[in-house]
């Protein structure tokens, strides 16, 4: 489904990585690993089409994502370093607004249910400004609860979460894989998914192997 071939990333005068290739099928998850600054975030943004690659190509269902455009974006769910939530709005409103933006239908009950699942019941109507760091991240992650699009790209989803929440998110990703979804994620913590195949990709000199896969 998702295929990257010979990706190269150049930042400033630095070549972060080159020749990164992999292929990801349904039900598989790719964990991108590497030291700080090895280019994980850059790689993920390339996979989404946010940053152009210096060389190489990303294909989705066999076609380059640049060509697919909206068709590809309609199947992609990206979660970056930033939470993409508005501090003024409540978690509930944020969740509904995010769904509307992605042209998904999410009714209020489903949204409330999602928030409850990520442990924010009782906070659903409090402006996000007042939430703790971890609660903000949970709000952002609540999108995943009812997310049905096949490709998830998650950049350090576990940051700021407590262990219980980490487990919960792992469960969500596991369920997604079991449904036949794909996931690409980065994390400095060990990732345990309950289902699906886990593949790893090491960036940078740490393992001295571009594309061990």
């Amino acid at each position: 489904m998702l295929e990257a071939s010979n990706l190269e990333c150049v930042r400033g005068e630095r070549r972060l990585f080159a020749g990164v290739s992999f292929r990801l099928a349904c039900g598989e998850m790719l964990q991108v690993q590497g030291a700080n600054g090895s280019g994980k975030t850059s790689l993920l943004r390339m996979l989404c089409g946010l940053t152009p690659a210096a060389a190489g190509e990303v294909c989705w269902r066999g076609q380059p994502i640049g060509k697919l455009g909206e068709e590809f974006r309609g199947e992609l769910c990206y979660l970056g370093h930033h939470n993409a939530i508005k501090e003024e709005l409540s978690p509930l409103e944020n969740l509904l607004a995010a769904a509307a933006l992605a042209q998904e239908s999410l009714d209020e009950d489903a949204a409330l249910d999602a928030l409850e699942q990520v442990g924010l019941h009782g906070r659903a109507d409090l402006a996000c400004r007042y939430l703790s760091q971890g609660q903000k991240r949970r709000t952002a992650l609540a999108r995943l609860v009812h997310e049905k699009r096949p490709l998830w790209v998650l950049d350090e989803p576990y940051v700021a979460l407590d262990p219980a929440a980490v487990e919960l998110v792992s469960g969500l990703v596991g369920a997604h894989l079991q449904r036949g979804g794909l996931a690409v994620l980065t994390s400095h913590q060990a990732v345990s998914v309950t289902a699906g195949a886990l593949r790893e990709l090491w960036l940078g000199t740490a393992a001295a192997s571009y594309g061990r896969i």
């Binding site: 089409g49 930033h82 993409a84 939530i85 003024e88 709005l89 409103e93 607004a97 933006l101 042209q103």
Partner: protein, 222 residues
């Protein structure tokens, strides 16, 4: 398609309502700038009447401009803009939605306030009517042009003030025709010619601006 525009408008309006201060404060900025002028140039009513169209239009322009930096900056900072760029519909449409919301929040209140402030400058009934009309037609153009500038300066160092440098020259035609319409009325010529030019600019601003804006946003996200 319309649904997603509606969603964007709805969200932005809700945000504005939540902030309230935003709407009120844009209006007060307009009021205060207009009221500052007499303090700077002196209180003679004769002179003030002559200045009125220019001052009101310049103030409207500055008030719009001040609200521009936040048009995309908040969405950029917290990652919402990335989500919009990745949404399965043209970014331009969503920009259009944001534009409409921006006008409702930042443009319309100025139009409604203008007659009251005109009185402070001792304008006649006719003058007040044309002033309001010219603002009603002209402010959408201000929002449209402003959006391009806001997108171009997004995430750029010193964005806020750089924005005004980019946008103000483009605002000049709107200012000239807007203030010109009122002036023409006051001096007895009809305002029609000015107003129709203003209308053309507004249409252009609203339907043409979203596309370069969307392109600029994509560049900002790279």
């Amino acid at each position: 398609m319309l649904i997603s525009i509606r969603a964007v408008i709805g969200r932005d309006l809700r945000l504005a309502m939540r902030r309230q201060a935003d709407i009120l404060a844009a209006m007060f900025f307009f009021i205060i700038v207009v009221s500052l002028f007499p303090l700077g140039v002196g209180p003679e009513p004769e002179q003030l009447r002559k200045l009125a169209p220019g001052v009101l239009w310049v103030a409207a322009l500055l008030a719009t401009m001040l609200s521009l930096p936040r048009l995309f900056a908040d969405d950029h900072r917290d990652g919402t803009l990335e989500q919009m760029a990745l949404a399965p519909q043209p970014l331009g449409l969503m920009v259009l939605g944001k534009l409409i919301a921006h006008w409702l929040v930042a443009g319309l209140p100025l139009v409604l306030l203008a007659p009251v402030l005109g009185i402070q400058f001792d304008l006649s009934g006719d003058g007040l009517a044309v002033l309001t009309l010219s603002l009603l037609i002209g402010t959408p153009a201000l929002s449209g042009i402003g959006a391009i500038g806001a997108a171009l300066t997004l995430g750029v160092r010193g964005g806020g003030v750089l924005l005004s440098v980019l946008v103000l020259p483009l605002y000049i035609p709107v200012l000239i025709f807007g203030a010109g319409a009122v002036d023409a009325t006051l001096t007895g010529l009809g305002p029609q010619a000015h107003l129709s030019l203003l209308g053309a600019m507004a249409l252009g601003g609203v339907f043409f601006a979203p596309w370069p804006t969307a392109a600029a946003l994509r560049v900002a996200l790279e």
